[in-house]
Structure formats: C-alpha cells, structure tokens
C-alpha cells in the first residue's frame, strides 16, 4: 500500500513533517495536512474545514453527507407519519359498513396520497438517507462524491413533498391511485389539476432519487478506503450499490411515462388514447417496469440493514458473505423481469404470463438464500438480545408471510383470483412493513447512537417492538381473508350484506395498536435526545468502520483515513498499514481509489458549500409548478433553472488555483 501511494505518505510523523517543510516556499503560510489524530492542530483544522457554516445561510448551503442524510431520514419519517395517519383514516372509514366518515372523493385522494407518500416520499428517501449517512462512514471517506448535487436533490424532495401536500390540503390531491392508470388519469377522465400534481411530484421525486443514486454509486465505486476491495466491502454498502444502480436504470422509465401522460393532458398528444392509435396498456408496462423494481429499491437496502445488524448482535462475521452479495445482485437483475405479474388480468399472451410466473418464483431463491445464511449466522453466534436484533427476528416472521403470499401471487391463475383484492393489500403490507419498516427500525435503533451520540431506551424499544409486531399482524392478517371473501381494493365503502365488517373492524383495531407503537417510538426518540444515555464510539461492539468514528462523528468523519484489510476492520485490524495521510486539512479534499482493488488513485477536491443547489431546486420548482398550469410555462419556465445551473457550474478561478496548489509532485 505504501509503495502504491507515492503521494500519500502512509505513516504520520517525521516523514510527513519533513515533506511538509520541504514544500513550503519562503513566505508561504504553513500548510496543514491530515495525519495526526484527534486533538492535534491538523485535526482541529480538518474539523473547521469540514464543518458547514451555521445560521440560515449555513443551513441552506450545507452539503455534508451527514447533514443531508439526516435531513432525508427525518423528513422521510415525517412523511411516514403523515401517510400513516392517512392509512389509519382509511382503516377507520372501512371499519364499519356504509360508513360516512369520509366520502368517495376524499377517500380516493387518501389512498392515492397514502401510496404515493409511502413509496415516493418515505420509503425510497429514507433508504437513500441512511445510505448517504452511513456509506461514507462505512467505507472510510469524508463525504459523498457529489455533495452539492445531493444537497440539490434534498431541496427538490422537500419542495416536491410540500407541493403534493399543499395540493392535498387545498383539495387538489391526486385521486387516480399511486399507479395513476390511464385513461382514469388521462385528459378525459382525470379532470382538474389533480393528476398534473401527481405527475410533477413523480418527476421531482424521481429526479431526486436519480441524483442521490448517482452520488452513492460513485461514492461506493471510487471513494472507498484503500484496501477495501469489493470483497471487503460491508454488505450494507453492497445493498446500497445494487439499489443505486437499479434506480439509475428504472427511474428514468417512470419520469418518461409521467411526462407522456402530461403531454397527453397538456399538449393533446395521444400516447394513451386508443381512439387515436394510443394504448392504455403502454402506461402499465412503463409504470410497472419501474414499479416492480421500486419495491426492491426499498427491500434491498433493508436486506443491507439486516446484514449489518446480525453480525454485530451474533458476535461473529456473516456466514456466507459472498453468497449474500451474489444474492443481492441476482435480486437486482431478476427484479427487472417481473413487472408483468402486476398485469396478469390484462390480455397478456399465455406464454408470456408463464415466463413472468417463472421469474416471480425464481426471485424467491436469492431471498431464501439470504434468509438461510442469516439463520446460519444466528445459529452459530452468541446473541445479544437487544432491540435491533428483536426487530430483525420480527422481520423474519413478517417478511416470510409476505414472501410466501408473493409466491401465490406470482402464479397466474391464483393471481387472477386475488389480484386487486385485499389479499394483495395484505401481501404488500407484509412485504413492505416486514421487509422494510422492521429492518428500518432495527437500523434506527442500531445507528441512532452513532448519529446522535445518545442511546435509545432498550426497554421502550422492546415495548415498541412487541406492540408493532402485534399491531401489524392484527391489522393486515385479516385482510388476506377479506381478499378471499371477494373484497376489492380501493373501495370507499361496502354494504353490510357482504359480511366484510368484522374483519375490517379487527384490522382497524390493529391500526390503533400501531399508532400507539409509533407514539412510543416518538417518545423514545424525544426522551433520548433530552436525557438519553451517552453513547461511546462503538456501543454495540460493531466491526465496520462507522464505529471507529466518535458518536456523533466529527464533521470530517475520520481525522486520518483508514486502511482496511478485512471485512470487519474493527474486529480484525490491519496489521501493517493502518491509515493514509497527506490530504489537505485546509480545503475539503478526498482520496479516490480504484474501483475493484481500492488502490489509491487520485486526490479529489470537493466542492465547497454553496447556495446554488438550493437556488437551482427553487428554479426547477418554479418551472414545474408553472408547467402544471400553463403550456407556455413548460418552455419559458426552463429559463430560471438554466440560469441557476450555469451559475452553479461557473468555474471558480480562485478555488481551482487553491486546489491545484495542493498537488504534490510524485
């Protein structure tokens, strides 16, 4: 390693000092480079360099990955709460037959908003938020690769979410379902501006998702600590990589599709109008080609959470690490071959249906493999029975039910019976709550001390777990039976003669228990922030790099960049070379490494915090909002974003000179 990194002296101390002195020209100020540990002047300088400004400007210009990542997580959890309230309202509307709590108009908005918010504003952003926060810490770098772009993505996300909720509160909430099937969402039947708002929200949130995915992919491939070859990469980082690459492939599809609907609605094109040669089924293909992988954008990071929690709480490295990596990649590929199983009831040719049935069955294999590897790890480990592990065990129970009903739904004939019934509602909530929300809570309990420096109460956590476990099963298990009894989805009411009343009532009861569990969680967080137990750097005895930073981590993450020679660097520290040094402490500088072997490659000057991401997000908002109400806004509204982006990328001569001056001759 030392030999390979001529310009990155690997040992701090005399050699480094000598180099620094030889380089300082007479009259030039002394230049600080990293290499010394906490408490040294270099460390203090690093901390100053990497800390975002305070105050309003600082808030708007911040681009540290921890700040942005945490903002994503907190905002997404707020949307989770809002969408949860909507879900609760729906369950209470359906708790009794012929209920008049809400009418059809509001109910249609409610379920559209619930689905849209959960999928676009909660699940994907919260997973990306955790990736943004944790990936740089886990791979031993100081920031993500494109922090300004990610800052811009956050603002787009917030503005998009506020636009959606603003529309909802002013009775313009989308009402054609989170899948927005045409012709119901088309110009003739989707009257008013409701569907336009949905199309714009999709454009916002997909732009956000894409930008973050590009950032995470680049970060993982190019900014890993020296020695962290692909085989040494933590499983959560693998999961984030697979998810991000999938997002890059799938998201443009739905942006394109939403824009085609918008063209039909605003410009009078006929992409989806059968009378003029268009086809409503085209939308379903485009939407589900994105929509099915979307489920895996949520599920695969959650698998990463599980793979991060289990080794720590079983006190041993993951059994079958390589098999799990291959499973993640296989899941990523296979998930693109399943979309037609959402469309079996349309007129798909029989042979095609059989293919998609086989694919839907096949994707169970990599997930099963991971489950078996996790069980093997648990069986051969020594268990620390704390809240994160409890949520992981709950995940097994709930996800397994969801996965098995998923196999039933993959079968064409069975799907034709239960498609678009409450059986599917039960299945998808088991998969998404079991497969994403339980792991998410495991991750929150696991990483909360790292992020805030305080531990959550384990006792309250266990209460929350058992309430949530009970509540979820009580809310969603009866829905399987309702589906078999013929209850379709998305109906705002039903007649008492249908006999759906009792199980619906039971389901509403479970929802109340879920609410109590979520309130308990909120209380636990609030309590911990005020008077929670202080967390040491590594409260769980974890093995990955994030636990080597203090809790909460310093602005620069690591005062010296680590060198890695195993999968759990804290459990099996590198024997010879422990870290690299020599990067600037005065400007934000990073070290890029090669994609596969993580050999030191180049030094990389990060962009400084700037207001442009925020301004650009506002300018894009201006364009998108204008284009909802006016065709000309679609064209003229592009001018402000153009100005903002040009200003953003305007070369800064002073900055460039400064960056170049840090270069050393090899």
């Amino acid at each position: 390693m030392t030999a390979a990194s001529g310009s990155f002296p690997s040992t701090p101390g005399s050699r480094e000092r000598a180099r620094g002195q030889t380089q300082s020209k007479p009259g030039a100020r002394r230049r600080l480079r990293d290499g010394a540990g906490a408490g040294s002047p270099a460390a203090a300088e690093l901390e100053r360099t990497w800390t975002d400004k305070s105050g309003v400007t600082g808030f708007l210009t911040a681009n540290g990955h921890k700040t942005i990542g945490l903002r994503f997580i907190v905002t997404a959890l707020c949307f989770f709460g809002a969408a949860g309230v909507m879900g609760g309202l729906m369950r209470h509307q359906l708790a009794t037959a012929n209920s008049h709590l809400v009418g059809p108009d509001f109910y249609n908005q409610l379920f559209t908003m619930h689905g849209t918010t959960m999928m676009f504003l909660f699940a994907v952003p919260v997973m990306q938020g955790f990736a943004l926060y944790m990936v740089p810490l886990m791979i031993g770098t100081r920031n993500t690769a494109f922090p300004r772009m990610t800052a811009c993505a956050y603002w787009l996300y917030v503005v998009g979410g506020l636009l959606l909720f603003g529309a909802f509160l002013s009775n313009t909430g989308p009402d054609a379902g989170w899948f927005a099937y045409v012709p119901l969402a088309g110009p003739e039947h989707g009257i008013g501006k409701r569907v336009d708002v949905w199309n714009m929200l999709v454009t916002y949130s997909e732009a956000m998702g894409l930008m973050v995915a590009v950032d995470i992919t680049t970060t993982i491939l190019k900014l890993r600590a020296p020695g962290m070859t692909l085989r040494h990469m933590p499983l959560f980082v693998w999961a984030s990589l697979v998810t991000s690459v999938m997002i890059i492939f799938a998201m443009p599809m739905v942006m394109l599709a939403a824009n085609l609907v918008q063209f039909d609605r605003m410009l009078g094109t006929h992409f989806f109008n059968p009378a003029e040669g268009g086809d409503p089924l085209l939308w379903q293909h485009l939407f589900w080609f994105f929509g099915h992988p979307e489920v895996y954008f949520i599920f695969i990071p959650a698998l990463g959470f599980i793979s991060a929690v289990i080794p720590t709480f079983a006190r041993r490295p993951m059994f079958g690490h390589d098999a799990i990596v291959l499973s993640l990649i296989a899941t990523g590929f296979l998930s693109f071959g399943l979309w037609v199983h959402h469309m079996f009831a349309t007129n798909v040719p029989e042979l095609g249906k059989s293919f998609f049935t086989a694919m839907s069955f096949m994707i169970a294999i990599p997930t099963a493999l991971q489950i078996f590897c996790w069980i093997a790890t648990i069986a051969s480990g020594r268990l620390v029975m704390k809240t994160p592990l409890l949520f992981v065990l709950g995940f097994f129970f709930i996800l397994l039910i969801g996965g098995l009903t998923g196999i039933m739904l993959g079968s064409v004939p069975l799907d034709l019976q239960v498609h678009d019934t409450y059986f599917v509602v039960a299945h998808l909530h088991y998969v998404l709550i079991g497969g994403a929300v339980f792991p998410l809570f495991a991750a929150i309990y696991y990483w909360f001390p790292k992020i805030t420096g305080r531990l959550l109460s384990d006792r309250l956590g266990k209460w929350q777990f058992w309430l949530f476990f009970l509540g979820v099963n009580l809310t969603f298990f009866p829905l399987h039976i309702l589906g078999l009894e013929g209850m379709p989805r998305r109906i705002y009411t039903y007649a008492p003669e249908t006999g759906w009343g009792f199980l619906s009532f039971l389901s509403a009861t479970g929802q109340v228990i879920n609410d109590v569990s979520m309130l308990l969680f909120a209380f636990n967080v609030a309590r911990s922030l005020v008077k929670g137990e202080r967390a040491p750097a590594d409260p769980w005895g974890g093995g990955t790099l994030e636990w080597s930073a203090s809790s909460p981590p310093p602005a620069c993450n690591f005062f010296v960049l680590p060198v890695v020679s195993s999968r759990e660097p804290l459990w099996m520290p590198s024997r010879d070379v422990t870290h690299v040094s020599g990067l600037s402490a005065e400007i934000r500088e990073g070290l890029t490494t090669t994609v596969i072997d993580a050999l030191p490659d180049t030094r990389y000057a990060y962009p400084a915090p700037a207001i442009w991401p925020f301004v650009a997000a506002l300018a894009v908002t201006f364009w998108l909002v204008w284009s909802i109400w006016s065709v000309s806004g679609f064209a003229w509204g592009l001018i402000p974003p153009a100005i903002a982006f040009i200003a953003w990328y305007w070369p800064n001569k002073k900055e460039s000179i400064e960056e170049v001056s840090w270069e050393t001759e090899p």
Binding site: P280, N347, I407, S411, E497
Partner: protein, 321 residues
Amino acid sequence: MNGIHDVRVPAGPQAAALFDLWTVMLVACAVVFVAIIVVLAVSVWRAPRASEQTVPDTAAHPRKETALRRFVGCAIAVSSVLLFVLLLASFIADRAIATLPLDDAVHIDLIGHQFWWEARYDPNDPARAFATANELHVPVGRPVLMSLRADDVIHSFWVPSLAGKKDLIPGRESTIAFRADLPGIYRGQCAEFCGYQHAHMALVVVADPPADYERWLAVQRQPAREPSTAQEQRGRDLVEHATCAMCHTISGTAAKGRRAPDLTHLGSRSSLAAGTLENTAASRVHWIADPQYYKPGVDMPPLAAAPTDLVAISAYLGSLQ
C-alpha cells in the same frame, strides 16, 4: 342483490381448479413457514447469550462452517425443488382453466361503464339480441363466452365463485369463458379502480337451470309490458317526457337513450344502480329523487318531480317484469 362472493366457494370448473391450486399453495407455504420459523426459533433458543463487550468470534471453524454450509445448501435445494413443483402445479391449473370446452357457448357482450355493467345477449343475431344491465342470467352446465369491452376507463370483471378476473380495457377487446355448474346467485364487483364510485359497481350472475334460463330469455326478448293501471300509465308518460328518456331505453316506448342502463325489464332485477340499492318501490323513489345521495359522482341527475309522480314512475318501472 346478495350472492355468493367467495374464492373458497367455487361453483364452476375453473373456480374449482383455482381453489384446488389455492389449497396446494396454502399447505405448501404453511409448511415452509412453520419449518423456517421453527428452525429460527430453535437457533435463537439454543444460541448462547452474549453482551456487546463479548469478543467477536472471528476465528475459522472449518467443521462448523461445513455443517452450516450443508444446512444452507440443503435448505436452498429443497426450496428450489418445492418452487419448481409449485410452478408445475400453477401451469397445470392454468391449462385446466384455459381448456374449458366452448361448444354450445352462450355469447354475451359485456361493456364496462362508469359505474355499471351493460350486457348484450346474442350480439350477433339482431332478431334475438337484447340488452340488460348489472344482472346476468346464465344456464347451469353450459359454457359462457363473454367479450369484454370498456366504454370509458379500465374496469375488471370478477365473479370469484365462477372464475378469475379479466380487465375491460378501452380500445382492446378481450374474452373470458366460464361455466356455472351449480344453480345459484353469484356476486361480482368491479376489481380495477375506476373512479368515484368504484365501490358501487357490482353485478350478479344468476345461474338458472336450463328451463328457467330459456324462460328468462324469452321474457327478456319481449318489449316492455304495457301499463295496466292509470298510475303506471302516468309513470310511463313521465319517463317518456322527462329527462329519463334522454339516457335510458325502455324498448317499445319512446325512451331510446343509450347512455344508461336499459330499463326494459327493470322490475325483474334485484338491485338498482349496480348493486347500490335493493330494488323496491320505495328505494326506486329515493334513488330517482336523489341519486347523488346514494352514489355521489354517478352520471344520473336528480329528477325534480312531485312525490306522486315519483311514486308513479316507481310503480311503472316496478311493473316492467
């Protein structure tokens, strides 16, 4: 209005094949679920407890690893074989459903509207063709071949006790075939979200013994009955001269609208407005006076008429057996 509406109560060969497949899947999945949960529970039970300070076990244990590898290998092999068996079961069921013999099939055109079902019997034979809505009669033991079309948005035809569902998509015609083997009333409901009143878009399929079915057909092919009382006569005059006739058809009268359900034999149907209300004299009055109260968003406007007139209309429509 009320009918059997349950996947687990099959009344035809297709629903029966589906129910068999469901049973196979349920048993297989339940066994897998129990097996995995038991293994997990035993593993958790038997694993020694530790604390965060416990030194992680990073040493290599070749013998233990081999045992674990064997466990995972076997488990994944069993899972794959089981998935393959279920896949075959699925294909076999699919084939059984697709090969329903269609000789002597009853042909019906079913057209989905927001938010009701239009059915046209014998669509290819003008002398015998007639239209009805929201209530189909089919003969027991004879296959039914249905052409599905949609007038506005996507709907989905689903009568769980008879067969799986099929979408009605604008611009695309599809077909569905099924057979009822037991006489009875089978309820169905639109299964694809179609807007405001997706919740009130039900239909019933009445499976009659062949003789009853032929009798029903003969009645349906007749034009509407002439009014037999002065009140019914008044009712017919109102229907013909008020807004009703702009959308509804009552064959043999001046009402020839094509936008709304055919009312020629409304009196013989069990429900109003696609399963929204039971078809009684009182509910007809309520419905005509204020359809938006019972089914907000439906296309039908309220009829501003004197109560006696409403009762007369209801009496006339009720007489249309």
